[in-house]
Structure formats: C-alpha cells, structure tokens
Amino acid sequence: MKSPVFAYAAPNTVAEACSLLANDEDAKLLAGGQSLVPLLALRLAAPTTLVDLRLVPALTGITYDQGVLRLGAMTTHRAIERSPLVQDVAPAIAEAAALIAHPQVRTRGTIGGAVAHADAAAEWPAVLLALGGHVEVTGTTGSRSISASDLFMGPFMTSLEPDEVITSVSLPIDGREIWVDEHQRRHGDYGLSILAMTYQLSDGFLTDVRLAVAGATGSVTRAPEAEAALEGRAPADSSDAITALAAELSYTSDIHGSADYRRDITTTLFQRALRAAGERSGQA
C-alpha cells in the first residue's frame, strides 16, 4: 500500500496553486491528507501532480465578523474544536468538529479538505448546508463564493472547477439555534446518520428551520419537506415532520446498515434534535 509516483509542489500563494492545477489536468490539491493519502496508498487515486497548500498563509485563521464565522480552508478540525473563539460564538460548531474521526486525524484533517472531498458521511458538509454557509473559492480566472446548496453535487462531487481552490468556509452565526449530532457505532467512526439542524425559536415555535442529513443518504442533503412541516410548530408537534423526513430522503444500504435501518435511526436522531429544541424552548 504505497502511493504511486507523483510530482509535488508546495506553492506560496493561492494564485500559484491555481495555475499548478491548471497546468496538469490530473493534478490534485493536498490539504491535511487524511482522505487523499489513504486513497493514494490504496492506489484508488493516482494524481500526476500534488499541489500542497500547507505553505499558503492566506488559508489559515478563524475570524468572526458581523455574524459570520470564517474558517480558513486549511484550518484543522482540531483547531476548530479547540478554538476559544468558536467555543464562544458557536459551541455547537466546536462540538461538531469533535465528532470527526479521532484526535490523531483531527490534528491534520482540514475543513477545506473535508468540504472539497464531500464524503457522504462527513460532518462539515451537513453543517454547512444546515447553516446556509458558503465557501470562498479562487481559480485561475478569479474568485467566487459558492453557497452550500450549490456546492455539493453528489457523493465525492462538488461544483468546484478543476483549477479552483477553496480558500475559506463561512458559517453564518446569527443567533439561530444550531444542533449537530450523529449515530456512530464506535468512537470516531463515520456517522451512520448525521443530522444538522438550525432554527429560530420564538415563543416556543420553530421558524426558519434548516435540516441537513449525511451518512444515512447517498450524499449530503437538505430535507425541505420536513423543514416545511416544522415551520411554525412547537418542537413537540413534530409528527408530520418526522414522517416527512422518513419519506422524502433516499436512504442508502451498505454493509453497515440497510436503508430501512438508516431511515429508522435518522428518525431517532431527529427526535433527539427535537427534544433538544423542546428543552431550549423551555429554557427560553
């Protein structure tokens, strides 16, 4: 299990990274390597050039400004989990980071890499979708921002162009409630079902609900019918939404669980989220 040959470059700027990508159609970016290096070892990926982002200073750093938490693409899961700023403004995000793998992987794996990799069982894409966040990307022809809903196209598929680099991930933190949790069989396993939910609570009623599911479905997805069914309801008044969530998504089967099972445990996860919402509304 050794990687095939590739040429390696570690540019100092995003622009340089983009042109390296543009120069070789089989080039790939390298961030923390926690997904890409295993694929190389298994020879399931064979890029001819690896463009390592580790020397690009513009890609790190966590800031919070005007209700937006901005995480440089090369920020590690561990740094997010441990960031006093994140713990302060959005503790649920720090906790979500801690759901990913084990500390030994979180110290290297990055949010940019996880988002770009778009694993169907990854936490960040679900978080990004539920929060209505976006990514900033730069390519040879310039920069643009892609909303989460336009980014994820399917399992391991995004709308990034081959020469584009995610430079940062932005999460709106605007007073809406955030809840992220998952069912994982062992500590650190990829989630069998991951659910991220954001909402407002006013007078005990849910509004502006956004629900994202990963792990249980073929790729990360919103659940618009369940969202609509919760709109204006109290968390306890959720049976329609529960039915909707079970019906509207296409759940996956694999050796770790059938589609029926994944539907069932996504439901129980959703119920857990609703209980938490109920408790929060009780406290409010």
């Binding site: 050794k2 020879r43 069989r185 445990i265």
Partner: protein, 786 residues
C-alpha cells in the same frame, strides 16, 4: 501411552503464582523491539504480489513485459515460474472424510478466490514493486463463483476441481440412543446458527524475509510464524532446501492468534526467489492483503437441537456443522478443523449428555481459505451450545444458572459419549461462582426497574471446557492424527546464570517470563539470572507450534524436565560439599540449603563455579554437563474450564449494544503468572465481543470481498472495552508440571455466546431470539420495534 517424556517432575511454587512483570516490556516499550519489518538485510529486494481480482476465473493471459521493463524491477514470476520448483502445498485434516487440496504458490490456469496470488514482482523497493504490480496485466475469463456452502454441497459448479462435489470434509458419528432421547424428550430446543467470517487481524501483518547463500547452500528465513519448525520442515519437504542448512528465525511478533500458525504460499515462494535472484527478498504484507488473503476464520452454519427431559436435563444432542471453507485447505489446519471440532468435540461441553448425533462438513467455496483463529472450532461450538442453554432456560422458566446446573457434570473422572476422558474440573463451581459474582437476584431487579424506564439490559452466561496443551494424547483422544512434542534446553554457566531455549515462539503471551518463573522455582536462582530464548531460531530445540493453548504446559513441561536434570546435579554436588543427604537439599533463594540445618548452605553460584572449575568438590561419578535438552508431551489430555457472564445494554434508538461488564471465571490449573493469564482473558474476551458485535468479512454476490480496509472491517476499539471482574479457580492437573493447564483461547471461545445470550435476555420481552453473530444493530432495533 507412557513415554519417559510424558513424566514431569514435581516443583515447589515460589515464583510460580506471582505477578512477575515481563522482562520483555522495557525493550518493547522503548521501541527497541525487532519485528519482521524492522529487519533490514544488506541488498534486500522487496516482493509484492499481483492478486486475483476475480473470485473464480480462467487466466487467459498474464502479461509481465511492461512490469519487467520498469526501472528498479528485478524479476516478475508467474504461476509457471513457481511451478517449476513446487507444485503447491497440500492441505488436509487427518480425520475420516477429508479430501486434500493442493494450493499452488502462484495460481496457474485458474484463480479460485479474490486475492489469490497470481504473480510476484520483485524490486528494489516496495514502492517500485507496487508500481510493477500495476503494470502486470491479467486477463480473466469468468467462471461461476461458488459462494454458499450449503448449496455448494448439494451440487452445482465446483469451486475447485480437485473437489468436484465441493465436499472437502464430510463425516460424523452417532453415539448412544439419540432417537430415544429425542422421542422421549419433554422439549426439544433447536435453532440454526450462523457465525460470521472473521479475520484474526493481528496488529502486525504477516511477512517473510529470505536470504540464501549459494556457497554454503544456507537458507535463512525470517517469519513471524507460530510454527517455525514446521515451516523449516516444509522448506525441505516442498522445496528441497537441505535441512541442515535451513534456519527459520522468528523475530518479535505482533500477535498471531492462529493466523500465523499456517504455512503460506508466500513463505514458500520467497526462499525460491532469494535463491534464484541471489539477493535477500522481503515481503511485508499490507493490511488489505491481510484482510483479503491471510486466512479467514470461524464462518459456519450450524443446525443444532437438544432434547431435554421433564426435569430440564439435556438428554441428547444433534448437530450438523457446515464450514464455509474457501478455495483450499490451508495447511496444516485446513478448512476441516473448524466444523469438525464444532461437531465432534463441543456439543456436550460441560454437560452430561449421553446421546449425540454429530455431523461435520466443510464446503469448498470461492473465498479466501479458512484457517485457525484462537479457539478454532470451539468458539462456534460453544456459541451454539450455550445459546441453546439460555433458550432452554427461558423455555423452562429457569435461571441460566439453574438450567446449566441440571445437566452439568459433577463427578470426575468423566468420560463423555465421544469417549474423551476429563480427569478433573471445576465445572459446577464455575456456574456457582458466576452466579455469585453477578448477584443474580439483584440483577433481575435492576433489569426490571430499568425496563420500566425504557432501558434494556440483559445478562448472558456462557461456560466452557477447552482442550489445552495440545498434545499427542489429545489428538488420540479426539481420533485426530498428529504427533506433538516440544523440547527445551536449560544451560547453567559458571556464574550460576541460566539460559533456557524453548521450541515455542511467542507472539506477546509472555512465555519468556513464565518460563523463567518455572526455572527460578526449579533451580532456586533469581529471575534476573535467567534468560529465555523463545524459538528465535530453529537452530535449537523442537517445537510443534504455539497453538491450542500449548505454551505454558508444553514448554513448561520441557523446561521443567530439563532444569530438573541440572537441579539433580546441583543437589548432588551440594550434598557432597555440605556433607548432607541429597534428599535433604533444597534449592531456594540462590542457594542450596540443608533442610532443618540452619546456616548450612552453599550458593548456587559457588556450585556452578565448582562444576566448571573445581573437580575436587565433585562427588564420585559426577558428570559435569550443566546443560540438558529434554522433550515433553503430556501423557493425557488436559482441559481447562471456566465461563463468562456479561451484562449488556441495548440502545432503543439505534440498536447499538454496549457491554457494561464482564465477569470471568477461569480454571487453568496452577496459575504461573496471574497478570499474564488475566491479560489473555481480557484480550480474548474483547476479541469475542468484536466477533459478536462488530467483525464481519463480507462477500458480495460476485464473490468480491467488500471488507478490504479497517474502515469496513470493524475491530473493537477502546470504547468497546468493558470493565472486568476476574476470578481464578485452581484445579491443578494431576500429571502436568506443577499442575499447570493451558489457556489463552477461552476468552474468544466463550465470550460471543455470553454476548449473544445477554442481548437475547435484554430482548426477552420482545419475543425475538437472535441466533447469528455478529449481532447487527439493525437486528436489535427490529426486535425492539416488534
């Protein structure tokens, strides 16, 4: 049978029984261990295998030119190249109804499982060898894969033409009045079980290094094998290397658990490559290869039924155990040992069941060959027996302890219907002790209280008796062929230090420490003065393998017999020097002392020095050889026993099962080192929890193995590790050294049944009873949902 090498001298336990820290630990803890991959030979080449991507196919073309042309590639061999030297390795089980297969070193015309080696690329580095493998192009013409053992036995295409009807093993016996037992039964409790396909999964994968010197015809082969002497034997038998010039070396080994107790094609191919290429060749298996090809384990389908009389006593058993064997017998254990042992040995267990109808069969399938994994044959057998005991307890509305007490054997020696004699055992005490440990009444109260809150806990019980100290007598008792004995050499040097060499390798079981404890008690020397070499080289000693819980008993017996020769000489010399009767001399705390005469003593060091340098101190006719090599093979079979009780909780929102606590009772006779025994129990039990809850090798409908990484083959991690309470019973063997019995497999043998029973107990209100392992969260959730 009584041979001199079955007699073991008596020994006073002083160091034996103590929690002696392991001498190997500082070396291993500081990163100084030398495992196979850590050994680097000058000029070594690296081998990597091209492996079949098809489950069953005809090879129509293998093109190797591109690979051969790659810079850094030294050689590429295909099946034809290997067959020039060796047709393959032959496997079978020496029992009635077994049919042999020959496993080629590299597949030639046909591939029979995914992962079967087809070609080997040898290069200057592993990286380049893998590049070379990518350039080897193999064309396959698909043949129908045979994937289901029971339908395979009914006919259809064959998985391996050597076994046209797919029958690799078929046999059985009817003992006692089975018909009568079932006709008169008050109840029959029966089920069909499936126990999943497992990987032993040692943390260190397999590996081989071969180095050959044509000037001396000397072959050195490093392999982390549990059976180095057997490998050495095969080097001559299969490949014709001169026996006197072959040495098999065993470095530190990162676990074996039975997987490394086979001979593999890779181990036979590397010596040939080293000889033909005239450079050392190394192969370190990667994890994908390990999961794919390093023998699979345990998978069986088992139909079993027990007849119970109206007093809830088991009166008869019927069993049919079918192994899903894979494409070949992997020598020496074969695909037969698993179902054979399950059917022929385990159905009666610790119970007095007079009638038994026993059928075993193994089917060839287009899957990775089945091999040994800790508790081979015993785990599945114990699973089905103990699970039906709990099913019976529910049917009779008895506690799991009571149902077992109804049938448990209480008097020894005991001969079961298979004719196996058990000299002694604490079979009833085990059940009583476990009941006390779990506090059964309190448990039921807690269970009821939690159930009212919507929480579901369950208690599962599993008791076992296992053959230990695998020996010739054991084989005979079970109608199995095979001759076993091991030797040990004990040598004392002029300063009174002792070097012990044994024929058994160690994969982490701490044999160097336990054997030192035996010698310390035999010779009265301190542990620091003893060095034990555990089959690091086949240059010394003979060993039949670190398998079947043999280590402590067999090596212990050989070591004790050899050190007793030295002891006798030291005693004679001391008696002469102290002018005492040899019968009054004891060796203790570094000195020979005259019992009852305080102050009359001479140090062992002085005795040793006198042997080497002072003839004047010798008694008449004294032979100064302070070195002895002796063999040991116990006269009679030895059996350890014990049991586990487990408490589990099942989560109603996911079906996840958590083991809350494990209670273990183990009786392996005299315990040499409780730390080591408890370590074996905990390790084995957690493997058993893995087998019951997580681990599963999965093939798809085309015979592709789906679980080829550790992301898919789930082993227990620390969060799956329960707290333990361990209780030792000590029923010493009457005839082994110091009364030691073997152990090491019991955790894995009996834990899965305890887990399954505990889950079924937690689900008892649902009416669902599960009979498969691993238990999936899905099955549990479905049961809870009704």
């Amino acid at each position: 049978m009584s041979f001199p090498h079955s007699q073991s001298p008596s020994i006073a336990a002083r160091s034996i029984g103590a929690r002696v820290p392991r001498g190997d630990d500082p070396r291993l803890l500081t990163g100084r261990g030398q495992y196979l991959a850590d050994i680097v030979l000058p000029g070594e080449l690296h081998a990597c295998f091209v492996r079949s991507s098809a489950a069953h196919a005809r090879i129509t073309r293998v093109s190797i030119d591109e690979a051969r042309a790659l810079d850094g590639v030294v050689a590429v061999w295909t099946g034809e190249d290997a067959a020039k030297f060796c047709e393959g390795i032959v496997g079978e089980l020496e029992v009635e109804g077994c049919f042999a297969t020959t496993m080629p070193l590299l597949a030639r015309d046909i591939v029979r499982y995914v992962g079967e080696p087809v070609a080997v690329v040898v290069a200057e580095s592993r990286y380049v060898a893998e590049d070379g493998c990518d350039l080897v192009d193999v064309d396959y013409e698909p043949l129908e894969p045979v994937l289901h053992p029971r339908s395979a036995l009914e006919g259809g295409p064959s998985a391996n033409e050597e076994l046209p009807d797919n029958v690799a093993l078929r046999g059985g016996k009817v003992l006692g009045d089975v018909e009568g037992a079932f006709n008169n039964a008050a109840r029959v409790i029966e089920a069909t079980f499936h126990s999943g396909r497992l990987s032993a999964g040692p943390m260190e994968t397999r590996g081989v290094i071969a180095s050959y010197d044509w000037t001396s015809r000397r072959l050195r082969l490093w392999t982390g094998s549990q059976m180095p002497h057997y490998i050495k034997y095969c080097l001559t038998a299969y490949l014709g290397f001169p026996e006197n010039e072959c040495e098999v070396l065993t470095p530190d080994t990162g676990g074996g658990f039975g997987q490394k107790a086979h001979i593999f094609p890779e181990e036979m191919l590397l010596p040939l490559l080293a000889r033909e290429l005239d450079r050392p060749v190394k192969w370190v298996e990667d994890r994908r290869e390990n999961l794919m090809t390093a023998t699979h384990a345990h998978e069986q389908f088992i139909d079993i039924a027990y007849a119970f009389d109206s007093d809830a006593r088991a009166t008869g058993v019927r069993i049919r155990a079918t192994g899903d064997g894979g494409a070949y017998h992997q020598p020496p254990w074969s695909m037969g040992v698993e179902p054979w042992c399950t059917a022929m040995v385990t159905p009666t267990g610790v119970y007095d069941i007079p009638a038994a109808d026993l059928i075993y069969e193994a089917a060839a399938t287009n899957k990775t060959p089945i091999g040994a994994y800790r508790g081979v044959g015993y785990m599945a057998g114990t699973l089905v027996r103990e699970c039906l005991m709990d099913d019976a307890a529910r049917a009779f509305e008895l506690s799991p302890f009571d149902i077992r007490r109804r049938s448990v054997v209480r008097e020894f020696p005991w001969t079961n219907p298979q004719g196996i004699v058990y000299d002694e055992g604490s079979w009833l005490q085990t059940i009583d002790e476990l009941e006390r440990m779990v506090d059964y009444t309190a448990f039921r109260e807690r269970q009821a209280a939690l159930r009212a809150e919507g929480r579901f806990i369950g208690l599962g019980l599993s008791v076992f008796v296992e053959s230990s100290g695998e020996s010739t007598a054991m084989g005979k008792a079970h109608d199995l062929g095979g001759i076993y004995h091991d030797t040990a050499t004990v040598k004392m040097e002029p300063n009174g230090s002792v070097t012990v060499t044994i024929g058994l390798t160690t994969q982490g079981q701490g044999h160097r420490t336990t054997m030192a404890q035996v010698v310390a008690d035999s010779l009265g020397v301190p542990l620091e003065a003893i060095t034990v070499r555990a089959a690091e080289s086949t240059t010394y000693g003979w060993g039949s393998g670190t398998v079947g819980s043999r280590g402590a008993v067999i090596a212990g017996g050989a070591v004790l017999r050899a050190s007793n020769v030295i002891r006798t000489k030291l005693v004679a010399l001391a008696a002469s020097m102290l002018e005492a009767d040899p019968a009054d001399i004891d060796l203790v705390d570094g000195a020979a002392v005259v019992l009852g005469v305080p102050g009359s003593s001479v140090s062992i060091i002085d005795l040793a020095t006198a042997v080497y340098f002072d003839q004047s101190a010798w008694p008449a006719d004294f032979d100064p050889t302070l070195e002895a090599t002796l063999a040991y093979d116990p006269a009679r079979p030895i059996f350890s026993n014990g049991g586990h009780a487990m408490i589990v909780e099942v989560a109603p929102d996911t079906g996840f099962v958590t083991v809350e606590k494990v209670f273990s009772v183990e009786d392996c006779g005299t315990v040499i080192n409780p730390d080591i025994v408890e370590g074996q129990i905990r390790g084995g039990v957690v493997q058993g929890i893995g087998a019951a809850l997580l681990e599963r090798l999965v093939y798809d409908d085309s015979g592709q193995l789906v679980t080829t990484t550790l992301l898919d083959y789930h082993m227990p991690s620390m969060d799956f590790s329960p707290p333990f309470e361990i209780h030792h019973l000590e029923t010493p063997s009457s005839h082994t050294p110091g009364g030691i019995k073997g152990m090491g497999e019991s955790g894995l043998i009996a834990a899965p049944a305890a887990v399954l029973n505990a889950v079924n107990d937690a689900l008892s209100h649902t009416g669902t009873v599960l009979h498969n392992i691993p238990i999936t969260p899905e099955q549990v959730l479905r049961a809870l949902r009704g």
